[in-house]
Amino acid sequence: MSQLTRLSAAELAERISRRETSAVEVTQAHLDRIGAVDPVVRAFLHLDAEGALAAAAAVDEGLQHGDPAASPLAGVPLALKDVFTTVDMPTTCGSRILKGWRPPYDATVTRKLREAGVVILGKTNMDEFAMGSSTENSAYGVTRNPWDLDRVPGGSGGGSATAVAAFEAPLAIGTDTGGSIRQPSSVTGTVGVKPTYGGVSRYGLVAFSSSLDQGGPVARTVLDAALLHEVIGGHDQLDSTSIDAPVPPVVAAARAGATGELTGVRVGVVNQFRGEGYQPGVLRAFEIAVGRLRDLGAAIVEVSCPAFDYALPAYYLIAPSECSSNLARFDGMRYGLRCGDDGTRTAEEVMSLTREAGFGAEVKRRIILGTYALSAGYYDAYYGQAQKVRTLIIRDFAAAFEKVDVLISPTTPTTAFRLGERVDDPLAMYLSDLCTIPSNLAGNAALSVPAGLADDDGLPVGLQVMAPALADDRAYRVAAAYEAARDATDGDPLWSRVPDLTEDRSPGPSIGTEDRSPGPSIAEVVGR
């Protein structure tokens, strides 16, 4: 493995801008790494080697002409979750219904990355339309966790987290609706950030649940995540929910945190996120992390947020409701898959056949659930009540942030579970997002930073740091301080201990490529 792939994004950008190495070399090193390990982990749905090398060459050319670097990440490669639109690559959202769809426009995040000179290597695998916690709901096969190929990489952004953990890219973009950045980061030993809702434009992010979706960075270090956050963040006139305020100073916070202490910082431990249902190894790793924060000078406070107990059920009403509406547009009329159009069927019949064949089981379940929750007779009892619970969760956060600067918890109750383990038990799958969901409902910032390995199974554990809305920098500061202390104690960063995937190690039985939807296979319906 080229040493270039083990460098941080910050270091790579430095070397590229000082012309000690070229962006093309860096990109090529990562493409080589992808060639070597992606057949095993399968993080990418689409690679654009040619486009990536051309983008890298453009960065090198600019530097050669003496132009200033377009951004502190110019020339650094990145893996983009396949839920952001790209004019030069397909955008499938892990769904068969969008197979091969080439959008005629770039997402704002895509545009900002290009303008910053970031090199987009390709699009990463994900649970279909970001619905899932294991990336097993992708129509294009599973992604494997680089720490243990028989385990899931989390979800929905398992592809992005795996790409970063497996040194296929130093940076990735994910989206987080209920934990889809943080939970995969937790189980792959990477840093994943859900910015304050409205902090990163959603224009061109294919919506799952509009009031919860938020794009954010995935990286191996807190500083790298912060650098990427500043590239993609900021107001966008094309998104009405985009916050018209400067991006919080997350890079400065990450740098300050890495060198400083946490004296005077009040850290709240959320009572609700411990105990039953939590893997003992996760809880022990969390306690060690709490101890480290205390050693750094933080004041640790127990905080109770009773409404958090209702976050999961509220989420599983709100998100499916919004998704049932957001996904209605996938009907085969204007783009994407169309099935059953034999000249005799009506548009309505063709829509129904297309959606049946194009969506996987989890997406259908949620569409039906959301259709139910929004129905006239049930709206108040379900959707309306969930929106009230949302208010209570916001109030719990507000009360907590009067007493503490940040809140912490394990990111997810367990380490990576085995492939297939929860596929047939939706409720068990949903529990993966227990601790991450409150911040989606309340819109505040939250991140996951690696907290070592669980002592019972040797797999990565994530520490979740939650900060108030628009105070994303606070979470970065605490996470960076913790990261520095952790690496100082452990002697090496967690990411460096990922198994070398190029060793001859056969993956488990292939369960990736066939379709697991209980619906009719694509061959059974009249295709194009």
Binding site: W101, R102, P103, P104, Y105, Y197, G198, S211, Q237, S240, T241, I243, A307, Y310, L312, P313, Y316, L317, S324, A328, M333, R334, Y335, R338, D341, G343, R345, T346, A347, E348, E349, V350, S352, R355, E356, K364, R365, I367, I368, L369, T371, Y372, A381, Y382, Q385, A386, Q387, K388, V389, R390, T391, L392, P426, L427, Y430, L441, A469, P518, G519, P520
Partner: protein, 98 residues
């Protein structure tokens, strides 16, 4: 007594334009019953005087000036279409056209 019946799931699937199979109906009815029973816990929360939240970050009055911007070309607009004719999207016959 399940929270949601198989017939209800079938009705919802029709409403959502999903031509689900009989096997799916059996599977989904059971799973949705379990999920709904679980999420119905939100109803235990006393929320009489609690206003609902639809936007976590309370922005208001976001407008755009009435200035024309660029459009897609017809070719771009139709680029993802399964079938086109005369610059339009071609779709199966529409029932009950009003």
């Amino acid at each position: 007594m399940p929270t949601i019946s198989r017939d209800e799931v079938a009705h919802l699937a029709r409403l959502a334009r999903l031509a689900v199979t009989e096997e799916e109906l059996d599977l989904f009815a059971g799973q949705l019953d379990v999920i709904l029973t679980s999420v119905a816990r939100v109803r235990q929360v006393a929320t009489e005087d609690i206003p609902p939240t639809s936007h976590a970050i309370g922005l208001e009055d976001v407008f755009r000036d009435d200035l024309p911007g660029p459009c897609l070309t017809q070719q771009q607009a139709l680029s993802g279409a399964y079938a086109t004719e005369d610059g339009r999207f071609r779709v199966p016959r529409i029932l009950d056209e009003s």
